[in-house]
Amino acid sequence: MNREELLAPARYNIVSEFEKYATGDGRKALIYVDAQNQEQQVTYDELIQAANRTANVLTSTGLKKGDVVLVMVPRMIEAYVTYIGALKAGLVVIPSSEMLRSSETEYRIEHSNAKAIIAFDAFTDQLEHVENLDKVTVYIIGEAKEGEVSLTALEKKCFFRVYRL
C-alpha cells in the first residue's frame, strides 16, 4: 500500500464507508451489553436510519454544514447514531467525554465557536455550571430539562426522509 492509496476522493464523507453495509439485508453492526448484562443489537440498516433522523433534526433546527458540535455521549449505541448523524449533516464533531469538567467544556465552546452540545440525559450535571452555555443549543438524548431540546422527542416527530450526502 502506498501513499496514493490513502488519498480520499475530492468529494467524500466518511459516513459513506458505513452506508456500504446498510443494504437492507440486516447485517449486524453492534452488540451492546450494559452493566446489568442486558443485551441489545442493531443492524447497519437500523443504525443508518436512526442517524438519518438525527441528521434531519439537527439541520432542521438550525445547524448548518461546518458548524461545530460537542458530542458528549457515553459508551452506548446512541453514541454511534449521534456521531454518524452529525457527520452526515456535515457538522464538525468535538469528541467529548461525559466526564469533562465544566471549565473544559467552556474552553471548547469558546475556542471552537461551537454551536451545540449533544449530551445524554443521565450525564448533564456538569453542564449546569458551564458559564457560556447560552452560546450553544443543548440537545439531549432522552428527557430534556428547561432550555434544552430533546433530540429523542424530535426524532419521533420527524417526518422520515433519507438524508442525502
Binding site: 490513502l6 488519498l7 480520499a8 458505513f18 453492526a29 452488540i31 446489568q36 457527520l87 464538525v92 467529548s96
Partner: protein
C-alpha cells in the same frame, strides 16, 4: 473539517486537532486491515470510550468501516467479566489498553478461559511491556501486537498482521504513511541513531492544523516533518525501537536511560502489577533512576527485602547501570482520564522534593 479533537499537552491550553473526512479515509485503510486485522463480519471489541480519539480510530471508523460487528460493553472494567465476554461472544479482534492487558495477564483465573475465537489482539496508548506479551503468547498462543500513534495522526508504527515480531520493538511504519526517525536538522537519522519519531508532511493521515493556533502548529514541524515528541531509533531492517517521550528520558551519570526498558524489566517480576520509572534529582549523578511500583498483592512486610530483590531482578535483565536506585511503593499510579500513566506528575514530585 470532520473532527476537532482536543488534546491536553503537558503545558498550555488544550490544542484543537483538526481532521478532515479525508483523514478518516486514510486512517481506515491503513489501520483496519493491516494492524487491527479486521475482516468483514468479525466480532471486534475495542474498549476505548467515546470522547477520545481512540474511539474514533477503532470502535467507530475501523469497525463500522469494515463491515464488522462491534461489541460494546457499557459497564466498568472487571477482569473476569472481560474474559467471560471474550469467550461468550466469541470475539475475533480485541483492542484495549496496556493497563487492561496487564490486569488480564495477571488475573487469578486466567486458566479458566480459552479465548479460542481471538485471532488478533492489539494494544495502543503507551508501550506494552514485553513480559505481558509473553504471558499471552504462552497461555493462549496469541501475539499481542503493539501500535503507536497520536491524536494528530493515525497509527504510525506497529507490528502489523503477518509481520515478524521483534520482541521489544515498536514494529514498522503503517503502510502508506511516511514515518521516520529524524535528527535535529529534520533529516532522517542513520541506523541505530536515536532521534525524533516524525511524520512527513505529505502523509494523508496527518492532521490539518491546530485550530486557531498557527504558532503551535508551526512549532510542531521541523523541515518537511511533523515531530511527534517521542524518541526512537531504527535498526537496519527498519524496525523502530522506542526510547521514550522526549521529556521522559533519564540522564544519569552521563548515561541516557529510556524509562521503558526499566519498566519492562520490573513488570516481569511476579510481585509487580504496574510501575512507572522517572528521573529523580541526585547531587552526584545528576539524576538517578527511580521506580514507582504498584504491587500485585498488598505485602507490607519486609519492603526492604523486596526493594533489593526488584533491584537485582532489573540488573539481571538490563544493563546494570539502569537499575532503579530508588523504589517507592504506591497504591496506584497517577493516570490521565484516558488511562495513560502520567510520568510527568511523578517527575514533578521528585523535583519538588529537592
Amino acid at each position: 473539517m470532520a473532527f476537532l479533537s482536543y488534546t491536553s499537552g503537558t503545558t498550555g491550553k488544550p490544542k484543537g486537532v483538526v481532521h478532515t473526512h479525508g483523514w478518516g479515509y486514510a486512517h481506515l485503510r491503513t489501520t483496519a486491515p493491516n494492524w487491527l486485522g479486521i475482516e468483514e463480519h468479525d466480532i471486534v471489541w475495542a474498549t476505548a470510550a467515546p470522547g477520545w480519539q481512540k474511539w474514533i480510530w477503532t470502535p467507530f471508523l475501523s469497525v463500522l468501516g469494515s463491515g464488522a460487528v462491534g461489541f460494546v460493553y457499557g459497564g466498568k472494567f472487571d477482569v473476569n467479566r472481560y474474559l467471560q465476554f471474550l469467550d461468550e461472544y466469541q470475539v475475533n479482534v480485541l483492542c484495549c489498553t496496556p493497563t487492561e492487558y496487564r490486569f488480564i495477564a495477571k488475573a487469578e483465573d486466567l486458566d479458566e478461559f480459552s479465548l479460542a475465537s481471538l485471532k488478533s489482539a492489539v494494544s495502543a496508548g503507551e508501550p506494552l511491556n514485553r513480559g505481558i506479551i509473553d504471558i499471552f503468547e504462552r497461555r493462549f498462543s496469541l501475539s499481542v501486537r503493539d501500535g503507536y500513534g497520536q491524536t494528530e495522526n493515525t497509527l504510525l508504527v506497529g507490528t502489523m498482521i503477518g509481520m515478524e515480531p521483534r520482541p521489544g520493538s515498536m514494529g514498522k511504519p503503517t503502510p502508506g504513511n511516511i514515518v521516520e526517525v529524524v535528527n535535529d536538522e529534520g533529516k532522517p537519522a542513520g541506523v541505530g541513531v536515536v532521534g525524533d519519531i516524525a511524520v512527513h508532511k505529505s502523509t494523508p493521515a496527518l492532521f490539518h492544523e491546530y485550530l486557531n493556533d498557527p504558532e503551535r502548529t508551526k512549532m510542531q514541524f521541523r523541515g518537511d516533518y511533523y515531530i511527534t515528541g517521542d524518541r526512537a531509533k531504527k535498526d537496519e531492517d527498519g524496525y523502530f525501537w522506542f526510547e521514550g517521550r522526549g521529556d521522559d528520558i533519564i540522564v544519569s551519570s552521563g548515561y541516557t536511560i529510556g524509562p521503558f526498558e526499566v519498566e519492562d524489566a520490573l513488570i516481569k517480576h511476579p510481585a509487580v502489577r504496574e510501575c512507572a520509572v522517572v528521573a529523580s534529582p541526585d547531587p552526584e549523578r545528576g539524576n538517578v533512576v527511580k521506580a514507582f511500583v504498584v504491587l500485585r498483592n498488598d505485602t507490607t512486610e519486609s519492603t526492604e527485602k523486596l526493594v533489593k530483590e526488584l533491584q537485582n531482578h532489573v540488573k539481571e535483565l538490563t544493563a546494570p547501570y539502569k537499575y532503579p536506585r530508588k523504589i517507592e511503593f504506591l497504591e496506584e499510579l497517577p493516570k490521565t482520564s484516558s488511562g495513560k500513566i502520567m510520568r510527568v506528575e511523578l517527575r514533578k514530585k521528585e523535583q519538588n522534593q529537592k
